[in-house]
Amino acid sequence: MDSNHPVLETEGLTIQFGGHVAVDHVSCQFHSGTLTSIVGPNGAGKTTYFNLISGQLPPSEGSIRLFGRDITDLPAPARTHLGMGRAFQLTNLFPALSVAENVRLAVASKAGIGYSLLGRADRRVDIYEKAVHYLEQVGLARRQQWPAAALPHGDQRKLEVAILMALEPDIFMFDEPTAGMSVDEVPVILDLIQSIKQDKNKTVLLVEHKMDVVRSLSDRIIVLHNGELVADGEPAEVIASPVVQEAYLGMAPGGQENETTPA
């Protein structure tokens, strides 16, 4: 893919819930080999914007293009098969299934074997080994037999990341991947995101509240406020801009472990 063409593009993307406009005509382009952070105060529409892109919500207006193709009307599973991968903010797992099975389902989806009726899932050692590979990356391999629901919160977040990695998407969408993790768990996840970023064919979208994380990882930051795109650019530039100081940082209380203090 020509690096001048955006991998993903939203044009005038809008969603209204009753009278409330949650995402308001957001037009934005995302290029491969770039990590874009989406920041903004709570309720700014970040997760809703994600839901529109990955197909969990239908937009009221506007369009989404993936690799130049209009995907506005495609359902979520079809978008996943086109290379879009999404991790969720509120942990969204298969609670009664084992940790390994959670990841295995993602690998199997990528491999396209879901409709195989007469084969044996446990005989596909390749699928299972790939799942274990991704569990090792997040440090969960030794708990692969546990039901996902039995994992502590931080581990559930890691599993969420492992599932996304196992989908091997072209576009990684992380929605607050480190939320609720203890301080010593966070670096594992950040290193993983960093390593994804190294691949020039991958695109990463990251919703994150912790400003030090955003600053260290991002190539670009966009700011949403009341559903509108209010700033877009290089991290240093965006963080320093008055609109961000007022709209985002001004509203962010000390609740985010004081990490939101601007440089």
């Binding site: 298969f94 009664a96 199997a108 409709y115 084969g119």
Partner: protein, 408 residues
């Protein structure tokens, strides 16, 4: 070999292994172990209901689809065979036309029901299926020229499957093992006489042929379902059950998976209906389409344990045995205790209500109590409960192993 046959899905508990093996061999050797017409129809029914309940478990247990139209598919299979045999004569050809026709009709109706209504929420799906099933029942009653209406439809099975056919001229012998054991305990001195009594004649008629056709079909269908539920497809069904939203996000079109599942379950239920019609060639709305049958399927599924398939074996066996023999058992108990209660002094005569409770007329009360207790003590069903225990110990082991290798 076993691993391939069972698709690597073992019962995973010693108690369960024993129970399931007992059921399997009880059914495999049934005609030579249990004497009498009642016993014969009981083992036939257990086979048929294992298939029917297992096909329901695929929906309810593996995917949490609550369908109240399962009896409709069961009935479609039965009526298709009855109508084909009736109009085309008692030949193998018309039987196959009926079986295949029934499966196809069931699959098409299941597809329509699935596509039209699986997008809606679970409760509405249950109501839609209920409406469709009731509508189908009314159609069957009204089109009596074809279906025989409320009276039902009788037919003659192929000669080779009827009582008139002799597979072998000479008689074979069966051994009533349960009766023999009973006598061994109650009257150990009379071993020789008891053993002689326990031997009974088995006429190798077409009924035996039919029983083994049904038994082998049951085994085949059960193993097929076991395989499908342990396939990549089956794993996705579980994922849809656990978190449909997330399954979509992983790239699985959940509506497709649920629809395919409904079609498979419907087709297999139709096969169960066809077997039932062959075993008792008089098909009535009451015995195939009534809500009572639907409730029985549901109970067997829940008692045995949802989402295990083996639960269908256990549930169907317990339920049908209870349904058939609980009344007899109570009659014996009632008569045995009659002397005791009659001898009670005047001031204790109020205790006779206990005697009335075990009167055979009250068998439905005990059946109900049995279910309440089984759901109370085995909330995950018999099979589910044993498996949960096994899983717990596995996890405990894996953690121990992990902490040994990783001192931190």
């Amino acid at each position: 070999m076993f691993d391939t046959i069972l698709s690597g899905d073992y019962p995973k508990s010693k108690v369960l292994n024993t129970v399931l093996l007992a059921i399997f061999f009880g059914l495999a050797l049934g005609p030579f172990l249990f004497d009498g017409a009642v016993a014969f129809s009981t083992i036939t029914n257990i086979c048929i209901f294992i298939v029917l309940v297992a096909s329901y478990d695929i929906l309810l247990g593996y995917t949490h689809i609550v369908s109240l139209a399962h009896t409709m598919f069961y009935g479609i299979g039965a009526y298709a065979v009855a109508i084909a045999m009736n109009s085309m004569g008692p030949s193998w050809g018309s039987m196959f036309v009926g079986v295949i026709g029934g499966v196809l009709v069931a699959a098409v109706i299941a597809l329509l029901v699935g596509l039209l209504s699986l997008r809606v929420k679970a409760l509405f799906f249950a109501l839609v299926t209920l409406a469709v099933a009731v509508g189908f029942g009314i159609l069957i009653s009204k089109f009596y020229a074809i279906t025989g209406g409320e009276q039902g439809l009788g037919f003659r099975p192929p000669r080779e499957l009827g009582p008139g056919f002799k597979l072998f001229e000479e008689r074979w012998y069966g051994f009533n093992a349960l009766g023999w054991l009973w006598n061994l305990v109650t009257d150990p001195g009379n071993l020789g006489e008891n053993t002689k009594q326990a031997v009974f004649d088995v006429r190798m008629s077409g009924r035996i042929v039919l029983y083994y056709v049904i038994f082998l079909t049951t085994v085949g269908l059960f193993l097929l379902m076991l395989r499908m539920m342990n396939s990549p497809f089956g794993r996705v069904l579980k994922a849809v059950r656990e978190n449909e939203f997330r399954a979509e996000a992983l790239g699985y079109r959940t509506v497709m998976f649920r629809t395919i599942n409904v079609v498979i379950a419907g087709a297999i239920a139709a096969l169960a209906g066809a077997m039932a019609a062959m075993s008792d060639p008089w098909v009535t709305p009451d015995s195939y389409l009534s809500l009572g049958v639907m409730v029985n399927i549901l109970l067997m599924c829940v008692i045995g344990g949802m989402g295990t398939l083996y639960g269908a074996m256990v549930g169907a066996t317990i339920f049908i045995l209870a349904e058939t023999y609980l009344k007899d058992f109570m009659e014996v108990a009632y008569d045995l205790t009659a002397g005791f209660f009659n001898a009670l002094p005047e001031w204790l005569s109020w205790l006779s209500f206990i005697h009335e409770l075990i009167s055979p007329d009250r068998w439905y009360f005990w059946m109900g109590l049995l279910f309440v207790l089984s759901v109370y003590f085995f909330p995950a069903g018999v099979v589910g409960q044993f498996r949960a225990k096994e899983l717990e110990s596995q996890i405990a082991d894996s953690e121990e192993g992990a902490s040994r290798t990783e001192p931190a």
